[in-house]
Amino acid sequence: MTSREQLAWAIVAIPTIVAVLVVLTPRRAVTAVAVTGAFVTAGLALALGVLELRALGDPVVGNWIVVDAAGALLVSVVAVVGLATVLVSPAYLAGADSSLGPAHRQQHTYFTALYAFWAALLAVPLVGNLGGAWLLIEATTATSALLVGFSGKARSLEAAWKYLILTSLGLGVALLGIVALVAGIPGGGIGALSWRALGTYSSGQQSALVAYILLVAGLAAKIGWAPVHNWLPDAHTEAPPPVSALLSAALLPVVLLVAWRSEHALAPVIGIRAGQDVLIFFGLVSLAVAIPFLWRSLPWKRLLAYSSLEHMGVIALGIGFGTPLALAGVAVHIAAHAVAKAVGFYAATPLLEHEPRAAERSVTGIARTYPALGGVMGLSLGALAGLPPSPLFLSEVLIVAGGFQAGRSWPAAATALLLALGFLGLAHALLETTVGKARRRGGRHRRESRALAMLGGISLALLLALSALALWLPGSDLVGALLAGIT
């Protein structure tokens, strides 16, 4: 077993063990165990990312484990967001007045579900076959639904129920696609679903295309692509803010990776263009559906949720265009969206304390009444809008340019137009949220302001680093490895 394989197993095992440990830990030590486990898990995941970066072009490919460039990128993103989520969770729990479980076990319930969810999220990019990926995605549904409905309040129960039912039905359709794929792959069994074996499908191009469409349409319900995105705004809005961050910044792109890998693996059978067309369709529809909502006055978390719909559409388009420029854009977009979106959701905890009505209506003039919070929210929204020098601006330019490079002029032009409209909507929201007319007076938040300033500073540094990366990435070996996939 190579060091990368060992690390891959450890990255999944450690959070699973911590999930069990948390149950057995006395209440006063739960946070310490969770934070320690988070640093260990994130450290191992980042180490895997570094190792993979040094061995580009030589992916580990087995029936059970895969470590490639795209997987390492996603594992690193999930690790960083997971670590930050664990670190900000105590602040959320301190103000949580209700939960699904008994009050004295609130922390145990929360961290156990969070770690189980995190473990499954880390496992998806590393699993070596489509069947395993489906099982793990289904497992993320069960664990994350508990977190979405964690507060136990009527609205969160409604959101969790919608999420559970809609994504489970979607995954049922995806499983039908998987069964149809198995039927056409010689040998059968779990080996038939390994990423490399998918390309040996031999029952004809039309059947493979049907299976692929069923698979991607089912996964779309989990990724939150329009028109099967109905659960997404509700779940993101009603989940605890740290969980919303993990849902948007980690869960959605992780499931998207499975669609990406399936498209790549089946390209020799269904044709490269046919596979990409499906992704471009979902990308454009998601963008078109998201834009009108970005122009509306929405509560902060709901605005971020619709922004997730927009950004998952952009990533789908980048993968659909499939050129080196577009894939460079996809890599930067996944990482930058994760940072900007997670910070935005983390800011929701102090925001709801500062202005409880922000849960149900848009907020204005936060920078006037709570400058540190306004700064962090402005940073998040500015980056998500694609305000230069945001890395998301650069990644969107790369993706659109990649579309033209691929000879997909009309979809690329439509993408550029929709992104410009989305930018205008979010830029308006940015101005209103930060420097608009304040609805209430400011208060003293000295301690929280220090924590927010630190969060903002770290995020700004990460975003600037990603902007620099976006300039370096096109033409690099990393893009070559993303383009090659699991070959």
Binding site: T141, G172, L176
Partner: protein, 203 residues
């Protein structure tokens, strides 16, 4: 699988779409799963196939026990009427099943009749979840879809994968367990398992 058995499975699926009582619907999806178990055992070629049938049986019995427990713990004061009358539901389910059969040229399973039955069960499951207001029926819709997929696994030319079938059974039980937790909480919060109460989140 014989045409008669496939018709029985489809008829049970359609009955779940139209039936009113939750407990009867639970009995029907369980019976459907047990028919699949019986066929899986009859068709088993090695120990792996027997183990896969065992996983399906455990899943069927465990889910039945869970759902019946939920029904007994969440007795409705008044019947929860579906949004759509039974006859319209049946017509919609059959139309959706026929449309799916027409749209999906082939899945590559052992027989075309088997494929049609799979698609019909998937369609019935989706229609059940979409048209029923009782929250437990939403979960039963998912189970109906999964029963259809279990049938598809049995109709695979080279047989299914034990690992995947056990995994699917475990995942479905996990989802049902979580759904059970939420069903009880929804009942406690709203005094009913009627999903009409769950319509406050809109844009």
């Amino acid at each position: 699988m014989s045409g008669g058995l496939l018709w029985i499975l489809v008829a049970i699926g359609l009955a779940v779409v139209v039936i009113r009582r939750r407990s009867v619907a639970v009995a029907l999806v369980t019976a459907q799963a047990l028919v699949l178990v019986g066929f899986a055992l009859y068709d088993a070629k090695d120990a792996g196939d027997v183990a896969a049938a065992g996983a399906l049986a455990v899943r069927a019995v465990a889910l039945a026990a869970l759902f019946l427990l939920l029904v007994s713990r969440t007795r409705e004061l008044r019947p929860v009427h579906a949004r759509v009358p039974p006859l319209v539901r049946a017509v919609a389910a059959i139309a959706f099943a026929l449309a799916l059969t027409w749209l999906v040229p082939t899945l590559g399973l052992d027989s075309r009749n088997g494929e049609r039955a799979v698609l019909a069960l998937v369609a019935f499951g989706i229609v059940t979840a979409a048209t029923r207001r009782a929250t437990l029926f939403h979960v039963l819709g998912i189970v109906l879809v999964e029963n259809g997929l279990a049938l598809a696994a049995l109709e695979l030319p080279g047989g299914g994968s034990l690992t995947i079938e056990v995994g699917v059974a475990v995942d479905l039980m996990l989802i049902a367990l979580v759904a059970g937790v939420f069903h009880e909480r929804i009942f406690a919060e709203f005094g009913t398992g009627d999903s009409a109460a769950l319509r406050t989140l809109r844009d």
